[in-house]
Each structure stands twice: as structure tokens, then as C-alpha cells.
């Protein structure tokens, strides 16, 4: 198990290095000059040089990447002052430390993602199990049709519609806002309830279908028959045996979906006017703010890679056959 974790973490480090390097060098493939933009309208060649130096983009690209990378671990001195490790540099646009900006925004995105995931996992797996237990009966058919409907929805459509109905017209739910979880959990939850529900409508469907088919498959396995043959009750067979087996594929897809949610944060945050790192990343691209872009990419990628390690560990916990390899 430890070997497995060590190997996965080492692999994750390599992946993050590759992602950051690719982002870095792709940025410089853009023909526009961020210093030019920062220098303003009355820019002389001399002041452009100074701006370039202040931004740290007067060095060769490889050296720049190296400085950026080492700053994460050792900190770095800029003209604006010293940046403590973990240092992701300063924004080209407003000279704000990137790390602080991300720390400020990331909880919103994370709350959105994890909260929605918990809701849709709960409803999706629950509905799938009910459908599997009631194979071919009314509940099964309702769950199947509902899941088809949900799967064909798009966030910007459902989101806008739900906001209009539930907030503007009926005031059943709050307009989405982010409150610090540690300060006021109730406000935190009620502020994010609408986006969670909207995201869940779309994702629950998929989990219902997958859980149902996975359960149905497991229920026809030989070991489930053995469990019944040794006197286990229908409920035990269903929960202890078939459910355990059916969760493997669900957990795997869940790892992928967490990444999809995080990547889709750009659209979700726009739809609900939330200020997370999705919003940050759009601005960073608009303003050619390389340090900000790199920071957002690195933090998001780290989160996705960590999610996947956790998912794999959970998978190994569920299925002992995976542990040995």
C-alpha cells in the first residue's frame, strides 16, 4: 500500500512538472507581448525594458521557468519585494501575489465541486440502487427516464432557468454567494445550494444509470448466488456483496468527474456569478497574466491529481485484488 502511494505521488510530481512546463512554453508561443500591455500607451523603449525586467521576462525562457519553479520551494526576490515560499510570483496586472489570490478564491471552487459531488453521488448511487432492487418495475423505469432527461441538460441552460425560477420568481433559494465555511457553515451551505442542485441534476443521472447497470451485473455474479445459498438475507446480499462490487467502476468514473467539475468551474462560476478560480483563469487569459495562469493551472492540476490518488486508494480498499499489484 505504501509502495503504491509513493509511486503514485512520484508520478503526480512528474505530471505536474510537465503540465506547468507545457503551460509556460505555450504562453511564450503567443505572439503578443505582456510587457507591452502593462507598459501602457506612453511607452518608451527604455520603460518597456524596465517593465520587462520587473516582470522577469527579459531572461531566456528556460531560465524563467527555472526561477518560477524554484520560487515555489525557496521564495524569490522581485523588484516589488520578497515573495515567500511557496511563491507563485506576482500578477502582471495588479502586482498582487498569485498565491494569495488563489488562496482567496480556491475555497469557492472547491466548495462548489466537492459539495456538488457529495450531493450527486448520494442521489445518483441511491437512485441507481433503488432501480436495481426494483428491476423492471415502475420505480426502475422512472429512474431510467429521469436519468436520460438529466443527462441531456446543460449547466448554462438549467442554471439560468433554475436561478430565474427559484431565486428571481419564487425566492425559495438564495442567490448564490460564497461564505467562509469555518465562519458560518449554514450560510456556506445555503449560499451554494442552488449551484449544487443544478450540477447534481446533470451528474446524478449518469450515476443512476451506472450504479443500476453495475448492480444488476454484480447481482448475477456467482459469488452473489453463493451468498444467497448460505442464507444471507436479500438486504445483506444487496448491501454487503453486490453493492461493494458495483462501486469499483463508480469510483473510477467519480475521479474523472471531479476533474470535469473543476475544469467546468469556469462555466459554473460564470453562470452563478461566483468568484472562484474559474473566474481568475478567464481574467488571466484575457490579460495575458502568465503568473496567474500558471498558478491557477498548477493548483487545479494538483487538486485533480490528488483526487485521483485518493480515488485509487479507495478503489484498492474496495477491491483487495488491486492491492497486490
Amino acid at each position: 500500500m505504501y509502495r503504491f502511494l509513493i509511486r503514485r505521488i512520484l508520478g503526480a510530481v512528474v505530471i505536474l512538472l510537465i503540465i506547468s512546463a507545457v503551460t509556460f512554453f505555450l504562453f511564450f508561443a503567443i505572439p503578443r507581448d505582456p510587457a507591452r500591455l502593462a507598459c501602457g500607451k506612453l511607452c518608451t523603449p527604455e520603460s518597456l525594458e524596465i517593465v520587462r525586467h520587473n516582470m522577469g521576462i527579459d531572461e531566456p525562457v528556460f531560465l524563467q521557468y527555472w526561477h518560477w519553479l524554484t520560487a515555489i520551494f525557496t521564495g524569490r526576490d522581485f523588484t516589488y519585494g520578497h515573495c515567500d515560499a511557496p511563491c507563485l510570483g506576482y500578477s502582471f496586472v495588479n502586482q498582487e501575489p498569485i498565491f494569495n489570490a488563489i488562496v482567496d478564491r480556491f475555497p469557492t471552487t472547491l466548495s462548489l465541486t466537492i459539495g456538488a459531488a457529495v450531493v450527486f453521488l448520494f442521489f445518483g448511487v441511491g437512485a441507481g440502487m433503488v432501480a436495481a432492487a426494483r428491476q423492471g418495475r415502475a420505480l426502475d423505469k422512472i429512474a431510467s427516464s429521469a436519468s436520460l432527461l438529466g443527462a441531456s441538460m446543460q449547466i448554462y441552460f438549467v442554471g439560468v432557468l433554475a436561478t430565474w425560477i427559484l431565486v428571481d420568481q419564487t425566492q425559495i433559494l438564495q442567490r448564490p454567494t460564497y461564505h467562509d465555511f469555518t465562519a458560518n457553515p449554514v450560510a456556506w451551505a445555503s449560499g451554494l445550494l442552488l449551484p449544487w442542485l443544478v450540477l447534481s441534476i446533470i451528474f446524478t443521472a449518469n450515476y443512476t444509470r451506472m450504479t443500476r447497470s453495475s448492480m444488476v451485473e454484480q447481482l448475477s455474479e456467482d459469488y452473489v448466488r453463493t451468498a444467497r445459498a448460505k442464507g444471507m438475507s436479500t438486504r445483506t446480499v444487496f448491501l454487503r456483496f453486490a453493492w461493494r462490487g458495483s462501486m469499483g467502476p463508480i469510483v473510477t468514473i467519480f475521479g474523472v468527474d471531479l476533474g470535469v467539475l473543476l475544469g467546468g468551474a469556469i462555466i459554473t462560476e460564470q453562470t452563478f456569478s461566483l468568484h472562484g478560480i474559474g473566474e481568475l483563469s478567464i481574467k488571466a487569459v484575457e490579460n495575458q497574466d502568465l503568473p496567474m495562469l500558471l498558478g491557477v493551472v498548477l493548483v487545479s492540476a494538483t487538486a485533480i491529481v490528488l483526487f485521483n490518488i485518493v480515488v485509487d486508494a479507495v478503489y484498492a480498499f474496495i477491491d483487495p485484488r488491486v492491492r497486490l499489484n
Binding site: R3, I6, R7, L10
Partner: protein, 344 residues
């Protein structure tokens, strides 16, 4: 005896096991086949028996050159094809055909029977006189199927009939050697006999040589003139059928024969040898004689010195045994109970 058709010597196949913390490297290997010598003469049926994991199927695949050996030679009609390229193998391929165990998964479910049997002829550009379709019908008739059923799909046939389709496909290229890997073990008893009789007729009437791989000793006895017994990647005994079944010298052969359940209630109770435990892992096979961990005759020498596959005193020509302490050739047929569990 006629010229050797297929001659394997020192044939070895190791499968690597990859592992390692960061970089994948080979951490161990499965000794699937470890120095096998076996010859098949033209028109002859050689049986290869052993329990699961003994390497008999791998040997079959090496013989058909579906796998490339790690070491050793495979001579087909005198020419070493052990490391031949795809192109060099192309003219030989039609002459060596395989029949597989599972008649359900070894036929393409989306192709008609005619398409399946025609396939090998098309690939090899063979145009029989009268056309390929006529040949397909002829082949269906040879294997005992209705020639008018060439338009049907595999799922419309029963297990035994599907195995006949597989045989017809193998026959399409007029092979000289068929490697049959457990061809009847997925079939019901009454159907098994139909297929065995068909294979026997092919050997007799068309002069096709067979390497017949099976775990069922009774079927091998029925079908093969010479039989080799494999254990953990090595041949432990090889002999003419009568010699092997009536005077086995290797303790493993003896134990294997005595473990076969017989549907014979009138005969005298037979000698019983019950082997303890399971076959060891081929990743780390025992030193010396590989059977020693389950052998009731094993002594210190068996752990240090690997017994060579040789002709023992008192044996017929061609009866080779790899054992330091072979069974007495005259003592068989008695009612000795050698079951360690029954002694206490």
C-alpha cells in the same frame, strides 16, 4: 520412422514480470516452458498432457510460432523457424494450423460460417479448383456439417458443431500439422467422442500430424501414439502410448494416472496415489527436480541435481524419463495404497 516434421529442442519461454518503484523493470519471470525437447513425425499424433500451468499450451503456441521462444530451436521440416520473421513464416503458416479449446470465443460471431472457413484461403491467396465456395462446402461435409449451412452464423450452432467449424477452418489450408489445444474439453461427453472420432479420421485419412494438448489422460491415450507428460515447464516423461500408460516410470506420471477417476465398477480396486498440495509457482520453481516438493520418493539428491530426460534401464527405445528414483517397471497393477493421508 519417417522424417521429423516438427522438432523442438531446448525450447524455452520465459514471460517477464514487470515491477519496480518508479521505472518499470523486470523483477521476475514466469518459467512457462523450460528446455522442452519434443519431435512430431509426419502423420503422427503426439499427446502433450499435464495439469494447468505446466506450460503445455505455451509449448503449443511456440510450436505454431504464435510465440517467439526465449531460447531453443523449432525446426519445421529441417528448417529452424524459432526466430523467423513474419515474412519468412508466411509460406509455412498454412502448413501448421491450430484448433482452440473454446468454440464460443474462437469464431468471429459476425461472420458466416462460409466466411470463417474461406478466410484462411483468401489471406493466403489459395484458389482451389472449383472455387472457394465449393471447397467450403466440401470442408463442411468432411467435418460432418450440412454443406448448405455455410450461410449461417456461429451462434446458430451447438458447441460441438462450432468445434467442427473450427476444424474445417484449420483444414482449409490443407495443413500437415494441426496443433489442437484442449479441443474437446469444453464439450459434453457424448459430443467429445464425436469430435475425437472426427480428428482420428482426419489423421488416418488425410495423414495430418497432430500435437494434441490436453489435461485428460484418457482422451490422449485414445488419440495419440506417443505421449509426453509435462510438469512445471519441463517434460518429465515421454514414451509410446502403451509404454507410458502401462509402465510409467516417473512418479508424477504414475500419480497422474492413478488419480484419473474411472467409471468402472466391476474391475479390481486400483492402486491409489494421492499427491499432497498444489503445483508450485512457475515464477520460482523448485531447484533440481521440479516435482520433488510433491514426490513421496524425493531425497536430497533431487534438490541439488536436475534429473536428465533419458532412457532408463529396462525401458523401450524412445521411452525417456527424467527421474533419479524411477518407479519399478514391474510392480504396476497391484493394489498398493500409497496415500500418505491413509497411512495414519
Amino acid at each position: 520412422m519417417s522424417e521429423p516434421l516438427l522438432e523442438m529442442s531446448g525450447l524455452t519461454k520465459h514471460f517477464p514480470i514487470m515491477g519496480g518503484l518508479i521505472v518499470k523493470r523486470q523483477v521476475a519471470q514466469v518459467h512457462a516452458v523450460d528446455g522442452v525437447d519434443l519431435t512430431v513425425h509426419a502423420g503422427e499424433s503426439v499427446g502433450l498432457v499435464g495439469e494447468s500451468g505446466c506450460g503445455k499450451s505455451t509449448t503449443g503456441r511456440l510450436a505454431a510460432r504464435l510465440l517467439e521462444p526465449t531460447a531453443g530451436t523449432v525446426r519445421y521440416r529441417g528448417r529452424d523457424i524459432a526466430h523467423s520473421s513474419r515474412r519468412e513464416l508466411k509460406p509455412i503458416r498454412p502448413e501448421i494450423q491450430m484448433i482452440f479449446q473454446d468454440p464460443y470465443s474462437s469464431l468471429n460471431p459476425r461472420q458466416t460460417v462460409g466466411g470463417i472457413i474461406r478466410g484462411p484461403m483468401e489471406v493466403n491467396g489459395i484458389a482451389p479448383p472449383g472455387g472457394r465456395n465449393a471447397r467450403v462446402r466440401e470442408l463442411l461435409e468432411i467435418v460432418g456439417l450440412n454443406p448448405e449451412h455455410y450461410n449461417r452464423f456461429p451462434h446458430e450452432f451447438s458447441g460441438g458443431q462450432r468445434q467442427r467449424i473450427g476444424i474445417a477452418r484449420a483444414l482449409a489450408l490443407e495443413p500437415k500439422l494441426i496443433i489442437a489445444d484442449e479441443p474437446v474439453s469444453a464439450l459434453d461427453v457424448s459430443i467429445q467422442a464425436q469430435v475425437v472420432n472426427l480428428l482420428q479420421a482426419l489423421q488416418r485419412d488425410l495423414g495430418i500430424a497432430f500435437l494434441f494438448i490436453a489435461h485428460d489422460l484418457a482422451i490422449v491415450r485414445h488419440f495419440s501414439q506417443r505421449v509426453a507428460v509435462m510438469y512445471l515447464g519441463k517434460i518429465v516423461e515421454v514414451a509410446d502410448r502403451d509404454s507410458l500408460y502401462e509402465r510409467p516410470r516417473h512418479p508424477y506420471t504414475h500419480a497422474l494416472l492413478s488419480a484419473v477417476p474411472e467409471a468402472d465398477v466391476t474391475a479390481e480396486p486400483r492402486e491409489r496415489i494421492r499427491l499432497a498440495g498444489d503445483v508450485p509457482s512457475p515464477i520460482d520453481p523448485p531447484s533440481g527436480c521440479r516435482f520433488r516438493t510433491r514426490c513421496w520418493k524425493a531425497q536430497d539428491r533431487c534438490a541439488t541435481e536436475e534429473p536428465p530426460l533419458v532412457r532408463l534401464q529396462g525401458n523401450r527405445d524412445g521411452h525417456l524419463t527424467a527421474c533419479h528414483f524411477p518407479e519399478d517397471p514391474t510392480s504396476h497393477g497391484g493394489n498398493v495404497i500409497l496415500d500418505p493421508a491413509l497411512q495414519h
